[in-house]
Symmetry: C2
Subunit: 323 residues, 2 copies
């Protein structure tokens, strides 16, 4: 199988790449080559098959045509401008998150073959007011440009799949936590920061009230969603190709309690409150409780608890040791 | 007030134009000029203000810029490739229904003013399976390219409105019946045909089973939705700018019964069954029962009955006399 990953240099892209390099297969078929694409060159990976890591502009039609001309069997389309940046730079968000996605879909259609396309969407496709629990039939009425761009991408993927131009699935990821590395421009970056930084003895800033609730999944579970999305039988999914992934709901206070349980109260003391109205307003508009029945039925598996998410970070990023 | 109507040569565009020429105002403000745009030149209208009727290609950015440069106070964006044609010609549907709509929104944004934009959407944004009655919170998962294009238009309008680039509202029209004139390429055209043709003593073809249910509104009520959409206070609407319009639900059998009641059984005998699998499949995918609570609360008013819809046609199109 030939694999293409856009946004491969991002955190989710790296986790996915690592997972594929470990398993070596998708749906029982052996991976034979891999193209990693991003705006910055993805880091080298060690794999028993040829890997092309390439930096380029996703908004350049020639780049997209070039990637798709190789007719990859599975295309993971992860590349996106994150929510906070898409809200601040309207044109950049639409160019990358909507126009380039549509160009990608058109390039696939032009090749007249039928790859599996896995598109990462977001719970940002939903907008308040919400019911207490969001079902798989709740409307998409986003309150951010990012959410609108992702929602349009889902609709286009649904249509291109129905028409047989490719076999696509959109997976609405929870906020991925704990993100390794440095904070990015996502408005939800602080959720990771307030756990990751104290785990290595550093201070972290909490910009929102402690009773703010959110919906999370670990990088490990998230990479699992992606590979499962590449493998799952989509005939069983039917024409509705956008699936809300299972996750864990918790307040900021509950995150901090879990941090205390797993790593000790001295770590909790490293969190400093510094309210930010812009971030609070944007993140408050995200939904917090779901009943992702379709995804669970199709075998997508969430983390068990926030404690487990913290332990996964310690195992996968800190070599099993607190810093 | 300066008014722009795209798709002005279409049936709904003409009904809207006529209504505005009769009332002379929108929201209590006097109309001062009108631009009517379509792919064919809209028919001349008699109005006490300057009217520019213009034929052009909506997909030409220069045409759009030209229309919007005049900074119309109200833009009725009705122009679209109809459902059946958009399903058969994928590229044409996307070019007109999605790309040109986005170009229109961008042109308005570039003018840095804030007109009212009324976008005609459709119940085709919904896709089966449905609940028994579709609420205002039911997801948009279209089973036609037309539905996807309209749904994306709704999402974009919501975002541009939230950002303050214009003050927009999408109204999801029921199938308009009875359409005057000749059949068009809409897959729903036969609903009108089986009533309109017998009313003037002509045969009509019924391509679907009689128990097929659908959701209708008269041309008169539809023009009323449009003018109300231009007048209604959108602060009360909030960020969710796509509203399902109220209509009447009825089966084909019920349409035919109403025809018999209003015009006599000899008219019913003019309907000839000629099953068409393509039309039946496409129209069966449309939803049939709604609870359009938000629109009703905002003062949008539906027809009373199918009998009334037939009588409106006889009044407005046949001079009050059966042909």
């Amino acid at each position: 199988m030939d694999i293409l990953i856009t946004g491969a240099a991002g955190m989710v892209g790296r986790k996915l790449t690592d997972r594929l390099c470990r398993t070596g297969t998708i749906g029982g078929k052996t991976i034979s080559s891999m193209t990693l694409f991003d705006v910055v060159e993805p880091a080298a990976v060690s794999a028993p098959w040829p890997v092309e890591a390439r930096a380029g502009d996703l908004c350049d039609p020639a780049e997209i045509d070039r990637m798709v001309a190789a007719k990859p069997d599975v295309i993971f389309h992860l590349a996106a401008i994150v929510s906070g940046e898409a809200e601040l730079d309207f044109d950049k968000g639409y160019r990358t998150n909507l126009n380039a996605t549509l160009m990608m879909f058109e390039a696939i259609r032009a090749q007249s073959y039928c790859p599996r396309v896995v598109f990462t969407s977001s719970i940002g496709v939903f907008g308040a007011p919400y019911p207490e629990i969001i079902s798989d039939e709740f409307l998409s009425a986003p309150l951010s440009s990012y959410g609108v761009q992702k929602s349009c991408g889902e609709l286009l993927l649904m249509d291109y799949s129905r028409k047989g131009f490719f076999d696509g699935i959109s997976i609405r990821l929870p906020t991925v936590m704990i993100r390794p590395g440095k904070p990015n421009k996502a408005s939800t970056s602080f959720f990771s920061n307030i756990l990751r930084e104290p785990l290595v003895g550093k201070e972290a800033v909490l910009p929102v009230p402690r009773d703010l609730r959110h919906w999370y999944s670990s990088p490990r579970a998230t990479a699992g969603f992606l590979t499962h999305a590449a493998e799952v039988d989509l005939d069983a999914v039917g024409p509705r190709r956008a699936l809300t992934m299972p996750g864990i709901t918790a307040t900021v206070a509950e995150l901090i309690e879990a941090l205390g349980r797993v790593a000790g109260q001295d770590r909790v003391a490293l969190i400093r409150e510094e309210p930010d109205a812009f971030i609070t307003r944007l993140v408050s508009s995200f939904p917090t409780r779901f009943d992702p029945a379709r995804a669970i039925e199709l075998g997508f598996v969430a983390d068990q608890s926030i404690d487990e998410i913290i332990r996964i970070h310690i195992e996968d990023e800190l070599g099993g040791q607190l810093g």
